[in-house]
């Protein structure tokens, strides 16, 4: 994979998440749900590139999400927590790598399905790790306790997975058209093509 192209698309996906996703956001269950273009990019790369490159890119994309995701604190402040999304995206990439050999890669719905399934799994460790940080903060009496409610976030991230899966269908089509730019290596990859 060409890492320069990956960096450009990672930057664009992050900018889309920050600037454009609000156009697509919906208020559901008292929270704002919008598709994550960074996550869609991660699934796309995981579905097409060698495992090592997929894992590295997932960690990088997850770190970008971590660094642009402020978590509210109790004192009308916010904090950036490094790690949860990086680990969650890594898990999502590992799952996608396992699943990609079972799907028809060129089918229009494949990206949507992979994104939804990867999302359902990737966001679970994110929720767990943020809950862990909150608990450790409370037990240690720290002033940096994240205002985080796991039950609400479970519903929220499930809906994000669904919405990202829907958005991944057209996004995956576009990415497929420009896939030569990424320079994916196809040898040794167990993907089934129509």
């Amino acid at each position: 994979m060409r890492w320069t192209i990956f960096a450009i698309f990672a930057y664009l996906a992050l900018a889309l998440d920050l600037g454009f996703a609000s156009l697509l956001q919906m208020e559901i269950a008292h929270g704002l749900v919008a598709p994550s273009f960074v996550f869609i990019l991660m699934v796309y790369i995981a579905a097409n590139s060698p495992p090592r490159e997929a894992r590295i890119s997932a960690i990088i994309l997850g770190l970008l999400v971590d660094l642009t995701w402020p978590h509210p604190l109790a004192q009308q402040a916010s904090a950036i927590v490094i790690g949860p999304a990086a680990l969650g995206f890594l898990l999502g990439a590992i799952l996608t790598i396992q699943l990609r050999s079972l799907v028809y890669r060129r089918h229009p719905l494949t990206m949507g399905l992979l994104t939804f399934i990867a999302g359902c799994c990737a966001y679970l460790p994110i929720i767990f790790l943020l809950l862990l940080r909150r608990l450790v903060g409370q037990l240690s009496g720290s002033s940096q306790v994240i205002e985080w409610h796991a039950a609400d976030q479970l519903v929220h991230f499930f809906l994000v997975s669904v919405y990202s899966g829907l958005a991944a269908v057209p996004a995956g089509y576009i990415l497929d058209r420009i896939s030569p730019l990424f320079g994916f290596q196809t040898t040794g990859m167990m993907t089934r093509h129509r």
């Binding site: 600037g19 970008l64 402020p70």
Partner: protein
């Protein structure tokens, strides 16, 4: 086999490293996050403007709204009243002292206008980022307003060039001190209350049943600099009053903001003007 074992050990190492970064102080994450945000703003800001042009936004009148003019007229009248009171006896000293503090307010109050450039959407909380930061005097806790009088939210994080604003209707803001004004705007009859974010973009609180509050009354923020102005920082209006089930002598009050906070594209940040020698 060796490759698989090597890969496995690398993955374990990476996972361990990332798990350890989970407990880093927030300042470290905030620093890196600020750099990433500033790098992304050149692309996310035009996208945000595109989104705003598609969805539409409440008109921003750049600090010259009728409500601001009304505030200036009120402050000027208070200044004239203060000059008259200074000539009267020492019995008026207490009210004079409060009026003196009002005289110290610069009506423009150093508003910094900022555009919404990014919406961190991952957590579902409706925060947004604007393109002014600590270099412009913005600090954590700075009030963000629309057209200079409608409260939008509070600044919860800053970088040198950006600030993250949490809307007043977000639970992260915590408790909000406010006044419910009667229909004639007589501040002497204002009812103090404490509000907190509800689940549906409203603010909820409790008020004694003996208080003269009705649906449609305006609710303003309890700001010590603006407390006696009818057109103080407006939160919204009373949408609903209903008796509490478990406390018959109290009413539940529901307040809704006068504007859709999600559609605000430009905000005015109320930055404290610090003059040399001021007692702050």
């Amino acid at each position: 086999m060796n490759n698989a074992a090597t890969n496995r050990s690398h993955i374990i190492l990476v996972v361990t490293l990332l798990a350890s970064t989970l407990f880093l102080p927030a300042a470290i994450g905030n620093w890196f996050g600020a750099r990433i945000l500033e790098l992304t703003v050149p692309v996310s800001a035009p996208l945000k403007r595109l989104v705003t042009s598609i969805r539409g936004a409440p008109e921003h009148v750049d600090g010259h709204s009728p409500q601001i003019e009304q505030m200036r007229v009120e402050i000027e009248s208070l200044r004239v009243r203060n000059a008259n009171l200074e000539a009267r006896s020492a019995a008026m000293a207490d009210q004079l002292e409060r009026l003196q503090s009002l005289r110290a307010i610069d009506p423009t109050f150093f508003f910094v206008t900022a555009s919404r450039v990014a919406d961190p959407i991952h957590g579902g909380d409706p925060q947004f980022v604007v393109n002014v930061g600590s270099r412009h005097g913005v600090r954590q806790g700075t009030l963000a307003m629309h057209n200079g009088f409608q409260v939008v939210g509070l600044v919860t994080a800053t970088t040198p060039r950006t600030a993250t604003i949490t809307p007043l209707t977000s639970k992260a803001v915590g408790e909000i001190s406010a006044y419910v004004l009667p229909p004639d705007g007589d501040f002497a009859q204002a009812v103090p209350c404490t509000l907190r974010a509800g689940d549906d973009g409203t603010l909820i609180g409790e008020i004694g049943m003996d208080r003269a509050v009705s649906v449609g009354d305006r609710v303003i923020l309890r700001d010590p600099h603006w407390s006696q102005l009818r057109t103080g920082p407006l939160i919204g209006s009373v949408m609903k009053l209903a008796p509490k089930d478990d406390a018959p002598l109290w009413n539940n009050i529901v307040v809704r903001s006068s504007i859709d906070l999600d559609e605000v594209a430009v905000v005015d940040l109320k930055v404290a003007r610090v003059e040399p020698g001021d007692d702050q």
